[in-house]
């Protein structure tokens, strides 16, 4: 714990040091991948912004998800890429936080997408035809913090009059979305929930083995936000620059570009819990 505290203080000091230099912008992201992977994903974007703004951009990976909110509140970060649910939580605290854009990621099929859906699936050969049929059936979620793998499916079940905590059979947590499909095919679970990218990445034969019981409404990808302390003209300029950005890369999970999404899509995520 002492070491973590020390590192945290060190990070704060370094962020504060960067912040004092007016020519530099601090860009923070959530630690959803390793620092090296995140640097690779954001390298093209940072290079693009540095050239367009004629400013050096300092790339920072927050210690954890909540730590990014703290940094934003402290004004230690100028711009940030933040997960949808976290953005919804932050907006609850401060609705005026400047929204810049929603990130478009390249999916497995090479399409740039700024949103996705949650799917509740079962095997095509299964007798389960509707969400109501899920009662008493074993079910596989991914992770309790996953929007498409846990929160939205539960939300959809509630909407259909099913209490997942009580009416489902055995519930298993499989963490990774593709494992839902594997576990289904192994018949270890009767049904499961995952994000639609996994389904789209399946071959036609594999898709034929899967029956989609329910599809959630649109779930936006990570949002780009700015610090409230930042000059509004600069915020506007960055926003324009982000919309104008188009990646030359086509690798899956890379940032393909940016789009504009209604903020209620983010706010709704708060209702899922």
């Amino acid at each position: 714990m002492k070491i973590k505290r020390f590192l945290s203080i060190l990070l704060l000091l370094s962020v504060a040091l960067f912040a004092t230099e007016k020519q530099k912008l601090v860009f923070a992201v959530n630690p959803y991948k390793t620092t090296a992977e995140l640097q690779t994903i954001h390298a093209e974007l940072i290079d693009y912004l540095e050239k367009a703004l004629d400013r050096e951009i300092v790339f920072v990976v927050s210690k954890d998800y909540n730590h990014l909110i703290t940094l934003m509140e402290q004004g230690s970060v100028d711009i940030a890429s933040i997960s949808p649910k976290l953005f919804a939580t932050l907006r609850l605290k401060d609705p005026a936080i400047p929204y810049l854009a929603s990130i478009k990621f390249m999916d497995e099929l090479g399409n740039a997408r700024s949103s996705y859906h949650s799917l509740i699936v079962t095997l095509s050969e299964s007798s389960t035809q509707t969400l109501s049929d899920l009662r008493g059936k074993s079910f596989g979620f991914t992770d309790v913090d996953s929007t498409s793998g846990y929160l939205y499916p539960r939300f959809m079940m509630h909407q259909n009059g099913i209490d997942p905590a009580k009416e489902l059979g055995k519930i298993y947590m499989l963490k990774k979305h593709p494992k839902i499909i594997q576990a289904l095919l192994e018949k270890s679970i009767d049904a499961g929930a995952m994000y639609d990218g996994v389904y789209h990445a399946l071959s036609k034969e594999e898709q034929d083995k899967i029956r989609i019981l329910a599809t959630s409404e649109e779930i936006p990808y990570d949002a780009m936000i700015a610090s409230k302390q930042m000059d509004k003209a600069l915020v506007l300029k960055i926003k324009e620059l982000l919309f104008a950005f188009h990646s030359t890369q086509s690798t899956p999970s890379s940032i393909a570009g940016f789009g504009d999404k209604p903020l209620f899509l983010y706010d709704r995520l708060r209702d899922l819990e």
Binding site: S138, G140, K170, I171, Y172, M173, L174, K175, K176, K179, Q182, A183, L185, E186, S188, I189
Partner: protein, 490 residues
Amino acid sequence: MKLYNKILFLTIMQLAVILLFGIYQIQSLYLTQKTAFDQKNLIQSEMIQKRFEDKLESLQKTAQILINSQEVMTGIISNDTDMLYNWSRLFLSSSTDKIHFVDLQGTIISRGESEFHFADDASKRFYVQQALQNDTFIGIDLVDGEECLVYAKRVKQYGQKPIGIISVALIIDDALLASLVQGTTMNITYHSEHQTLSTTKNQELINASSLHVMLQAGSIKEASFNIGLTSEEELTALKEARTNFFVGIGLALIILVLALHFTLLKHLREYKALAQVLIDFYEDRLGIKDVIATIRQVTKERTTPEVKKIADALFNMSQKVADTQNALELLSSTDQLTSLSNRRKLEECLEQKLKESERGNLFSVVMIDIDRFKTINDTYGHEIGDHVLIHTARLMRESIRTSDMLGRWGGEEFLLILPQTSLEGALVIAEQMRSKIYQFTFEHYPQRVTMSLGVATYHVGDTPNSILRRADNALYRAKNSGRNRVDHED
């Protein structure tokens, strides 16, 4: 005891002692090797036993580590298949094939060995029931259709509230058996109602013994591990060496005894043959000449040097005896003064001629007497008398044939036996003899010496006395007729 028996007995005794010593040595070596062999097997058995216990201990340790993990406990409570899978993956190894997390209803939450296979019901499994009821199970049971060494333990939250069980299993297969006996000369078999496994191929174990393992009775009936050897190659080689040695020594003994037997027989036969010659000699079955001939034959034959040496010596000795015998015979049949045959020899010869005459061989005899020999002795002495006798005998001998026999009959009388000679022939010879003496001049006797001779020839039915009597009668007539003349029988 005979020499043959002595030599054979002593030799067999020596060989028997060598054989017994050899047997003792090889048997001692065999026993030493067998002890080492048994000791090695004992150590190997203990090693296999220890390996087996290590396997069980490894299962228990793995289960205990997982039970002590707070995350695992959380994973069981929340059915976090992925987390449990990730944890169990860390502990799967050659000593742990299966790790299962089971909830209190007996449903498998996660399998370490199969990421996407879970949620099946294991509540009817014996080891699950045992762990749920009695906290722990360690034994052999079917896990996912495979016979395994299983350690299952109930997981308790905060050490009190049961939340599920963890089972850690090792598949009983050929690889497990091979790992238990790796680096040893032992083999192991596993037998149960479902299967029989072995590190050998269709070979029975020798001196098999069960592994002493503290396992609970499981659902598998008659499950047992046995260890032993498939072959006692090292010991067999030693046994063969021992047998070969015994057979070799035995054969050598028989061959040596036979060789000794025949060698002794050969030598002793030659000695015996020589001894038999001597025995035959003194028992008069062989003459000395036969002895010499026989021994000469022996010396010419291929024989041993020792026997040849003895035969040579006997041969020389026999020669000497023969020479002495000849000399004695000559002495006993010769008149010493005149060197003519003596009366005994003449009688033998006359007897012989009479026998020969029965087969048609005629002969004649001449009785000779020196005239007035007493006067010569009396006048000139015996020395001159002997001188006359010696020279008269010499002259007569010179005038007869080789086949004729002339001898001194006694005093101044001589007898001449003429084989294959008629009366006429005998008269001629007698006359020549008389004339030769009469004409001879003696060196020491100044006067003429005359002889009277009486001739008789063989008549059928003659005896020595009859023919001699006729010759004597003729001699008498010659004497009476004036001496120095030859007369014959009527």
